[in-house]
């Protein structure tokens, strides 16, 4: 297994920065309502949105990586560091193409990302993640990676005409 790779026997994953050329691969998960509903963003309907996401979010982000299987992006993972008195904490987010769910890919990605981010941001002492409790798969990913569920924040988010509780890990 190469350095920078992690994974189960079947699927090993690697990280690299997202590039504009990845837009079609990005659409495979950004354009999928099954992914969008758990991530609480609107499903992308055209490739331009994927390009804008890569250019405006991924490229300039302090820590954002494409999750690659066999060298192809199948999702992305990011940690957003807080500002000022919140710079001791980072918010982990990840999204994965539906066809890769249930195969340990997200677990591998989080397992690879967490120590990398702690190494890179020396002031960081806490990484947290928010997931809606309906997203049982993601709750299990975080638990397997050693995250502790601290609290359910009630009525924390709004989307699709309703309020959502959020589990904070």
């Amino acid at each position: 297994r190469m350095a920078g790779e992690e994974g189960t026997g079947e699927l090993s994953i690697s990280f690299r920065p997202l590039e504009v050329e990845d837009a079609d691969d990005v659409m495979a998960w950004k354009g999928d309502p099954r992914v969008a509903q758990f991530c609480r963003w609107d499903t992308y309907t055209c490739r331009d949105e994927a390009v804008a996401f890569i250019q405006n979010f991924a490229v300039h982000h302090e820590w954002c990586r494409a999750i690659c299987v066999a060298g192809r992006p199948v999702g992305c993972i990011s940690v957003t560091i807080g500002k000022d008195e919140a710079r001791c904490r980072g918010l982990l987010k990840y999204e994965l193409a539906h066809r890769c769910w249930g195969k340990g890919v997200a677990t591998s990605a989080v397992r690879l990302a967490v120590p990398a981010v702690f190494r890179e941001f020396l002031r960081l002492e806490r990484i947290e993640a928010m997931v809606i409790p309906e997203n049982k798969g993601s709750m299990r990913v975080l638990e397997k990676c050693g995250f502790l569920r601290e609290v359910i924040l009630r009525k924390y988010e709004v989307g699709e005409g309703r309020l959502w509780d959020v589990a904070l890990f």
Binding site: R126, E128, Y156
Partner: protein, 168 residues
């Protein structure tokens, strides 16, 4: 006596007026005091210039900051910050009170008034939350008396004077 208590309660009011530059001297009573600031997100501003800068940039310019007034004079502050995008249904409330006015139930009253004002004034808001240092038992009691529910402990949530704090 009961009537004196009622008189005292009548004097406690939050004005809906925004902060003004002329509030600076009153504002310094809590903003420049380490005994207050040690419980708060920010450190004290000891100089008049720093306090003025805070008043201008963080209170007057704030989307929702109100003085807690006793007989019309500011003795503390109440702030509310609405979340953005998918978090616009919630916001964080914060307050600080001059030391000499602690222990009289003022913060609890002010908080109840602010909560009503916020739910009325921000129709999208469905949740108001507050974050308080785990050893700040006084403020936790204020929040509980004002109807807040303790949800959970967030470990190493904020930095204060170089150390991370656990917060409810």
């Amino acid at each position: 006596s009961p009537s004196q208590m009622e008189e005292k309660k009548k004097e406690v009011c939050i004005t809906l007026r925004p902060f003004e530059l002329t509030d600076l001297s009153d504002v310094m009573a809590w903003v420049a005091d380490d005994r207050v600031a040690q419980w708060c997100r920010l450190d004290a501003f000891h100089s008049r210039e720093d306090a003025q800068s805070f008043l201008e940039s963080s209170l007057i310019a704030h989307p929702w900051a109100r003085p807690i007034c006793l007989s019309g004079r500011p003795i503390g502050q109440m702030t509310f910050k609405q979340g953005s995008d998918i978090e616009r249904c919630r916001g964080e409330i914060g307050y600080a009170l001059a030391y000499e006015h602690w222990g009289k139930g003022i913060a609890t009253e002010a908080l109840k008034m602010a909560v009503n004002a916020i739910f009325c004034g921000f129709p999208e808001i469905q949740r108001i939350d507050a974050v308080v240092i785990d050893w700040n038992v006084g403020s936790q009691k204020v929040l509980e008396k004002a109807g807040f529910v303790k949800e959970g402990l967030l470990r190493k949530y904020r930095l204060k004077k170089g150390e991370t704090l656990d917060m409810f």
